[in-house]
């Protein structure tokens, strides 16, 4: 595993000068992931914030080969890149050992890109797929996705006089990917670079499809001061809203168990998107959220202990 000094000294694949917002944590996640990739690589992106801010023609923030095609198909596009790599390598037209990496936000992964992702892993392509999850469609103006938490306000689930925000709990995509029985699935958070670095390095040494879901807060969408993002990501893990864990060949391993699990209310009050939940008439919603977080955490503990 690389230490912080080594990581900092590596040549950047995703360089400074991109146009992400101040305090953008998906951009930090990208930097952490790409610095952890100590191999030649080709990266593919679904349409989304990170694609938009890193490639405005005639500029590019990428020093490695990069492709963006559309919103829902990065898994299919990279399946094609990987298949080309296999043939051209076999024919001796490509000699380098190249890692193929796909990136997409939660919209491009949980929702519109889900079919292509499921197909890609079922076919067994040797690709690392990274979801940078900021829990809504931030690029188009903060609309709800199936990764958006229960109760959160978004542009399409505003809190009003009769509505309280999103009415559904988020799809548990990491579990769905584990159910594909692929060699490696993990959840990570942008606040824990060491854990993330370990997971990227491990994944890249495994042949076959790998999926890593990284929680990456969005200052605009979640409504918190730009400098608070890392703390908020950490809170998601301390409250067990976003557990850090791996599923390696079907075996669950929780990478971090908080000594004292913090109440979910601490996570909720850190962000403006949940502010309406603190009205007296919405108190029961916070209880519901706590119940669901506890249920999912207990289930994960069971999976990891069996």
């Amino acid at each position: 595993m690389a230490n912080l000094k080594e990581l900092a000294q590596r040549e950047a694949k995703f360089t400074a000068g991109h146009r992400a917002c101040a305090g953008c944590l998906p951009a930090v996640a990208l930097r952490q992931v790409t610095l952890s990739v100590n191999y030649p690589c080709v990266v593919g992106f679904a349409t989304g914030c990170m694609e938009v801010v890193s490639t405005i023609f005639p500029y590019t923030a990428w020093t490695v080969p990069f492709i963006h095609v559309a919103f829902e198909n990065v898994a299919a596009v990279m399946s094609g890149v990987e298949s080309a790599y296999k043939t051209l390598k076999r024919k001796g037209k490509v000699n380098d050992d190249i890692k193929i990496i796909a990136f997409a936000g939660d919209g491009g992964t949980y929702d519109i890109g889900f079919q292509a992702l499921s197909g890609m892993v079922e076919r067994g392509h040797d690709i690392l797929y990274i979801c940078y999850n900021n829990e809504a469609y931030m690029n188009t103006g903060i609309q709800r996705s199936s990764a958006t938490p229960f109760g959160a306000q978004t542009s399409t689930t505003p809190a009003g006089s009769v509505e309280f925000g999103k009415k559904q709990f988020p799809k548990d995509l990491t579990q769905i990917m584990a159910a594909h029985n692929i060699p490696y699935v993990a959840q990570a958070s942008v606040h824990n670079w060491k854990d993330l670095n370990m997971k990227i390095e491990k994944a890249l040494n495994i042949k076959g499809p790998k999926f890593i879901n990284i929680l990456a807060p969005c200052t605009l969408g979640w409504r918190y001061p730009a400098e608070k993002g890392i703390e908020i990501a950490k809170l998601a893990v301390e409250t067990c809203v976003w557990p850090l864990y791996e599923v390696e060949n079907g075996n669950y391993k929780i990478n971090y168990k908080p000594r004292e699990k913090k109440p979910v209310v601490e996570w909720l009050k850190s962000q403006g998107r949940f502010s309406h939940l603190f009205k007296p008439e919405n108190q029961h919603l916070i209880e519901e959220i706590q119940k669901e977080v506890d249920r999912r955490w207990t289930h994960l503990l069971e999976l990891a202990s069996s």
Binding site: F66, V69, V77, S79, G80, V81, A116
Partner: protein
Amino acid sequence: MKIMALTGNEAAAEAMRQINPDVVAAYPITPQTELMHKFAEFVADGLVDTEMVLVESEHSALSATVGASAAGARAMTATSAQGLALMWEILYIAAGLRLPIVMPVINRALSAPINIHGDHSDTMGARDSGWIQIFSENSQEVYDNTIIAIRIAEHPDILLPVMITMDGFIISHTMERVEVLDDDVVKSFIGEYNPSYKLLDIKNPITVGPLDLQDYYFEHKRAQAEAMENAYKLIKEIDEEYSKISGRRYKYVEPYEIDDAEIVLISLGSTAGTIKEVIDELRLKGMKVGGLKIRVYRPFPREEIKEFLSNALVVGVMDRSIAFGATCGPVCLDIKATLQGTKLSNLPIVDYIYGLGGRDITPRDIEKIFGELERIKILGEVPNLPRYIGVRGEEDYPEIRSKFKIKN
């Protein structure tokens, strides 16, 4: 060279075996299925080096093909109807990224109502997507056009994707005599694929598909339009080269008995063959009729059309799809636009919409069309809306086809 009995699908598969693409993505849809069954057998028997990607949708089939092509591979896929419709978004992207993908499309009607048989609704809808479109009359042309298309797509001054079309079932499932070239002849004709830019060239990293706003998008689209113009100029050179290895000399449009023809019927695909039969019969009866088959539909062969229609007195256009709400079908629109402003702009042109959902077009239908065109030639009265051929209940529609008389 050898003679084989091949369906249209098998002819495309045989061409693909000889092309030996690096990557082929496939998703099943009738009537394209047989093509990929055949090709999968070639893969299973080790007759090709292809990595086959059996994707979960046509959207992903073209997406994987785009990824493979951008990576530096020779990449192909094939589809029909709904599959092409599902690819729509990526059709424009493949063309906009200037990726030389070759894709056989087995023409089939679009839903609703659902129907699996041949008409041109699918590819006509994609005529402005930036793909070169080449129509094939029979299995031999499917085979030849597929091989020629590789050279067209990959020409450095073109770099555009190409659709090779054939009429669903009528050609795709009909066995015909096909002359197949030797493998090494095809191999040397298409050459090695070595694109200038490829993702897998890690020493020369490129960014493919960046955001492109008001300041550059338009220049890129303008350059793409120019690539289509280049294709219009250059396809004939590639056809000429192909004639040297095959003895078959293809043109953008193929005239039939046109030199002294007063009545010319224009068509695409398998119907052109039926029209030739009828022309032979009518010529024996002394009628001065001729045919014009459009092979290269995009880029549209405007100069050739003008040249071959220069002696015509009346023209019929066979459209196997409807452009709903337009004044006529897509092929007729192109013909009218081509003649506008020339000395032929007053030429009477009648649009015939026919054969939707695989409805047969018979020699008798064609004969009737020539008969009607003969009357129009004499009387000068031209219907200004499309005529529908071979459809029940046509006489029940209100008479809205007001006629106008051609001056002079």
